[in-house]
Symmetry: C2
Subunit: 451 residues, 2 copies
Amino acid sequence: MSANKAEGPATASAERMVTMDKLVNLCKRRGIVFPASDIYGGLGSTWDYGPLGVELKRNVKDAWWREMVTTRTDVVGLDSAILQHPRTWEASGHLQNFTDPLVDCKGCKQRFRADQVQGGRCPECGGELTEARSFNLMFKTFVGPVEDSASVVYLRPETAQGIFLDFAALVDTQRVKLPFGVAQIGKSFRNEITPGNFIFRTREFEQMEMEYFIKPDPAEETPWFDYWVDRRFNWYVGYGVRREHVRLRPHCADELSHYSRGTTDIEYLYPFGWGELEGVAKRGSFDLDQHARYSGKDLTYFDEEARTRYRPWVIEPAAGVDRAMLAFLLDAYDEDVVEGEERIVLRLDPRLAPIKVAVFPLLRKGGQPEKAQGVLQTLQRYFTSVYDQAGSIGRRYRRQDEVGTPFGITIDHQTMEDDTVTLRDRDSTQQLRFKIGALAAELTERIGLHR
Amino acid sequence: MSANKAEGPATASAERMVTMDKLVNLCKRRGIVFPASDIYGGLGSTWDYGPLGVELKRNVKDAWWREMVTTRTDVVGLDSAILQHPRTWEASGHLQNFTDPLVDCKGCKQRFRADQVQGGRCPECGGELTEARSFNLMFKTFVGPVEDSASVVYLRPETAQGIFLDFAALVDTQRVKLPFGVAQIGKSFRNEITPGNFIFRTREFEQMEMEYFIKPDPAEETPWFDYWVDRRFNWYVGYGVRREHVRLRPHCADELSHYSRGTTDIEYLYPFGWGELEGVAKRGSFDLDQHARYSGKDLTYFDEEARTRYRPWVIEPAAGVDRAMLAFLLDAYDEDVVEGEERIVLRLDPRLAPIKVAVFPLLRKGGQPEKAQGVLQTLQRYFTSVYDQAGSIGRRYRRQDEVGTPFGITIDHQTMEDDTVTLRDRDSTQQLRFKIGALAAELTERIGLHR
């Protein structure tokens, strides 16, 4: 295990330039993340991903999918529905256990989370509070034209249950053998009482979850659990999260979810402190047991070697797309001085960068813009690419630096003579000349898409 | 305009092998699309995309994104929230107009769509029916811990409104100039009374919508509308939908949506008849006008050339991911005879195929499996690839043919001597020999990912 098990520092290192304010401002100013429904005053911690944010998000999801599905032979993908049969949540325990304790003020009638109220009196009016009662965090809605209890369904609070519901169908159709995993990416919804910290905690969010099915045996469980904790830890580091900003934190017995036999959080040092980035849980056979019981269906797996049937145990690495994005953005954020000028630069891994390459004509004459447009059209077939001819070349570089574009191609006087261009590197700001015909291969290698 | 404006044939051509039953069975048997919540008896036309379906869906979305965003300079992407401020739907007109007329039976209390009940008496018990009243198709839920009218929000019934809400933020941050488009892909929800026909009409579905903003001038509107109808029509044909199975159908005045100045549907000939595949609508400035009125915000665009402000008009090509998948699958489905044996083959465009390449050792000995695993590992870095060593080579080919895998690589005795393999083409079933080191480039070219 190469992951960092020691306690991390209590606060970020002194050199860390980024604050939440700086990042939120950059995200808003450049269209990475906007407050959603903003023209109507917003809707409590909902966010829209702008033109650059949507590309970053796509890249984060693709990187996870590549790591967890397409470069492996033991994991398959799934995309299950958000609206599932309501029995799902009875069986999974979410209807009963996925709750926060709430209290009401008998005076002003406001409602608060019980664990956030001190001394039994209302923080707003000082009135007396009711006993705490459970508030379920699932959003409910009604299918069909009649709003009654028979038609209630819930927006899924996790993608995982879709995988368990399809377990038998997957085993029947996919010729999978233990150990194997099922991965999916999709929206989940939790009616959080206190969302906040930008995209860290939101009511609508996107998950990347994988259920890894193993033999029901602690001797299999421990090494696979360690394996996945390690793989997931190193995935973040491999895509640019700084090793000193991540740590592992095993859950105490009293904070374990109702389905878990043991959970370790991969925590990240956000500017507001350590917080969850991903949880890796030992779910045992809890979910398959429950769904077998509630559905009456056979959810066993036939072990051909042992000639026996059993319900497998599960290791679940559950990540959040939005939190991963936040961590990558925070650790990419930097400020430095280039040629005597201050700049903001997002040092994103080129594989995650929203735009891979920007194409600039040095001058708006001499055929340079037309030549640059030709280069753009070729490169767009391979990479997300933009064209910019507005302002000084230095200013155009800065504009790309602060959204993390790793490469800039400049068409200049020499291009018109020998068909070479300069390729500028975002981090070193160094420039090298290449033939236009060699650019696609050179950039593919530098971006590292097939690494 | 090269699109087919004439009426298409009333039914499919006689050679069409596919029926809905055949396709649904194949999808279920091979894990392309499963009935969702199946172990609990299902949940009215919800579907899960299995390991192959999720890859096909990703490819359809990527193909659209590439066509509409990344290979263009005039369109940017967006990913806005599903939960939006409820005023959104007052302004957009959905709260008032997005309804179906329903009637209740005074006897058995069942509810029906008024336009599907004949003669004013209940089709179940013959009882008397109430007058029709409007039933809104939006799913509603409650944000925060109190279920009252102040906390009601709706699951978006279309992705488009997120684009209009962000219009000012996009204009402010993206340096866009008219004409420009904003594209997004995401889930939408409609509480349909009569969903059905497999993934054709479902309550939860995924949309690919683009709002193309133009000057508010009919002389701009007509050519841009024709341009987008044509582009979208040819996108389907370019990815494998047969030209004779698509047609254009302009909406009559009485079926236009409340926001539309004119709509043309791109219709597809499903086995159950002609039906909508995509709608291209002239939304004018309806949405920006309404949101400006309801929010009090300035949603104008400053035209630098004309030195004037106005709210742009909009052309909207709105496609469904699930319907596009259905059309691609239907037109890919074929049955033929190869070497005296019947086979099912999905002739999917290689760019859409869930798996690009399957790697087979001819024999399970002589080092062939190890060699094949090595080839797999290399190819997995570039393409979705699978390994199969179970059963005769002919049977393994068939298994891939019926899920549309365009290429098969076989490692045989000769491979162990000269490092060449055979590359088999799904459609022609012809085989050619290549050096292993040349495979990635050869397959990239044949798949046509950068075309």
